[in-house]
């Protein structure tokens, strides 16, 4: 998930365009000959995939421990050249973003819950509201 819009699509889109396998939310990566074993964090726990190379991986928080920046590197960072390449120079169709934000709204405030007298009544209610 990108840190700006949380869309969770860049890696997946790239894999689809390239027709390469994808291993997203990788929390552990092990290279084998011609393949990569990716452990992914999914809602239910951990899933391990084996992908033929080349593949697209996206990293999860737990994949790595970031290094500490060293003091000399912090000072050098300011002096590093920042090369700006216009998108057109790379043959990428530039122009306005193709994603338009139509509306941003808060989720509806939590409505109060309801107490029921018995388990049967609970199951009835759940069935009626289409939850089961």
């Amino acid at each position: 998930q990108a840190i700006d819009d949380d869309c969770n699509q860049t890696g997946q889109l790239l894999a689809a365009m390239l027709d390469w396998p994808q291993g997203t939310f990788a929390s552990r990566v092990e290279l084998e000959a011609g393949a990569v074993r990716v452990q992914r964090e999914v809602d239910g726990g951990l899933e391990t995939l084996r992908l033929r190379l080349p593949a697209v991986l996206t990293a999860d928080l737990r994949l790595n421990e970031p290094r500490y920046a060293t003091l000399p590197n912090i000072m050098k960072a300011k002096k590093k050249p920042l090369e700006v390449i216009p998108a057109a120079d790379l043959g990428v169709p530039g122009g306005a973003p193709r994603l338009k934000v139509l509306q941003v709204q808060e989720p509806p405030p939590r409505a109060g819950g309801e107490k029921v007298e018995s388990v049967e009544a609970l199951v009835e209610k759940l069935r009626h509201s289409g939850r089961i």
């Binding site: 840190i3 928080l61 737990r62 500490y68 920046a69 060293t70 003091l71 000399p72 912090i74 000072m75 960072a77 300011k78």
Partner: protein, 414 residues
């Protein structure tokens, strides 16, 4: 920081009973009146961030163990040196980081929140490397500084003797010239790192009495005639060994002398100007950590049916602690700027800063302990270690009484 990061790290730290550790990650007193990053440049904020991260991860979880078992954490310090913390204000051509005194103060203040005792030793080490870097010949700088900046070797500063503490210029360790060597006889007391460190910057008498007869020699462990006393048992600063250093017909090549004969006392005092800012910075870090601990305790602990934080007396005390912390920090940073700018009043400002900050910060840590009630007295809680570790800051690198002498002299004779 993203919530995931804080949670992931907090989970890893659940094993550490140090509330300080959790606090350092979760709330560093940022976005509050005691935020230590206010007024800093972008670069300085980066340095501070690295130091705070390092302190929270590599030091805070172990500070209690290092204190209890009297462990000198060599591996951790070498890791710190890899980041550039071994020679912070030493020139880069011999392995230092070439930063300013203010940058240095910020870094030591941050590291001290993780373990004050070890950070204080690191500041002494840094001071010694700077002395060699600044007053040594090209050959001496290249011989000593690189391995010290990387902390492959560690250094100790040897001025105090059993018979001369505050009256440092009356030191007796003699260095008799014999051909192209000096023969040293005497002893030094209370040497931080003594016995475990490799390089010793020793002030000794080559000439007549008084400061002008003192020279500075660099000794190395293993030199014949160099031995050490027993490891002292201390109230705090237990993550660094303290021993007497003994010279018995110790032979030192003339090529190990820093600067000219008779220049030693001046070298020692110039080293101490920076050393005083560093020690004061260590006190600031301990006080900051203690204020955070007190803040947490006041919100969590309940008595008489409500959190302690609802009690106006305690609110006022916490406010006073915060105010004094910020005042002390400003004194220290002001002195650091004066020193790096080479101002004439730098030395006396360093003395004032050391006096004020070490006294105030001890009061802050002590008050934080009091706010913890009985729990503050238990070694399971970090606040008592901050109190014990910074108590000695009011004594060494020039007692706070000597600091007053320096300020008075400036006012009445200057």
């Amino acid at each position: 920081a993203r919530p995931g990061t804080a949670m992931a790290m907090a989970l890893a730290w659940r094993a550490a009973p140090r509330a300080a550790a959790r606090l350092l990650l979760g709330r560093r007193g940022i976005a509050s009146c005691i935020d230590p990053s206010t007024g800093l440049t972008e670069d300085q904020k980066e340095f501070q961030k690295v130091a705070l991260d390092f302190a929270a991860k590599e030091m805070a979880p172990y500070m209690a163990e290092w204190d209890e078992k009297e462990i000198f954490p060599v591996e951790m310090m070498r890791k710190a040196a890899q980041l550039g913390f071994g020679g912070i204000y030493v020139k880069p051509d011999v392995g230092g980081s070439g930063l300013s005194r203010l940058d240095t103060s910020i870094i030591f203040e941050a590291l001290s929140t993780g373990c004050t005792s070890t950070t204080a030793y690191m500041s002494i080490h840094n001071m010694c490397v700077w002395m060699i870097d600044t007053f040594g010949s090209e050959e001496q700088r290249r011989r000593f500084c690189p391995s010290l900046c990387s902390m492959e070797r560690f250094a100790s500063y040897c001025l105090t003797e059993p018979g001369s503490g505050s009256d440092a210029a009356s030191l007796l360790t003699s260095a008799q010239r014999k051909g192209d060597t000096y023969i040293l006889n005497g002893s030094k007391a209370f040497i931080s790192g003594g016995g475990d460190t490799d390089v010793y910057v020793v002030m000794c008498r080559t000439g007549g009495p008084g400061p002008k007869g003192i020279s500075c020699l660099v000794l190395e462990k293993g030199m014949p005639g160099l031995s050490f006393g027993k490891k002292e048992k201390k109230v705090g600063w237990n993550s660094q060994p303290t021993r007497a250093v003994i010279f018995e017909d110790c032979v030192v090549p003339v090529g190990n002398r820093l600067g000219a004969e008779g220049q030693g006392f001046s070298i020692a005092m110039q080293g101490l100007n920076g050393g005083r800012i560093n020690i004061a910075s260590c006190s600031l870090g301990a006080a900051h950590a203690s204020v955070l601990l007190a803040q947490e305790h006041l919100t969590v602990r309940k008595q008489f049916g409500e959190p302690l934080a609802n009690n106006q007396y305690l609110q006022f005390r916490l406010a006073e602690m915060a105010t004094r912390l910020v005042a002390a920090r400003l004194m220290v940073r002001n002195a650091a700027r004066a020193l790096q700018d080479g101002r004439e009043d730098a030395a006396v400002l360093c003395s004032m800063a050391k006096l004020f900050a070490t006294d105030e910060c001890f009061g802050i840590c002590n008050q934080a302990l009091q706010m913890h009630g009985g729990y503050g007295y238990l070694k399971d809680y970090a606040v008592q270690q901050f109190v014990r570790d910074i108590r000695v800051h009011q004594i060494l690198e020039g007692t706070n009484e000597v600091m007053r002498m320096i300020v008075a002299r400036n006012l009445l004779q200057g």
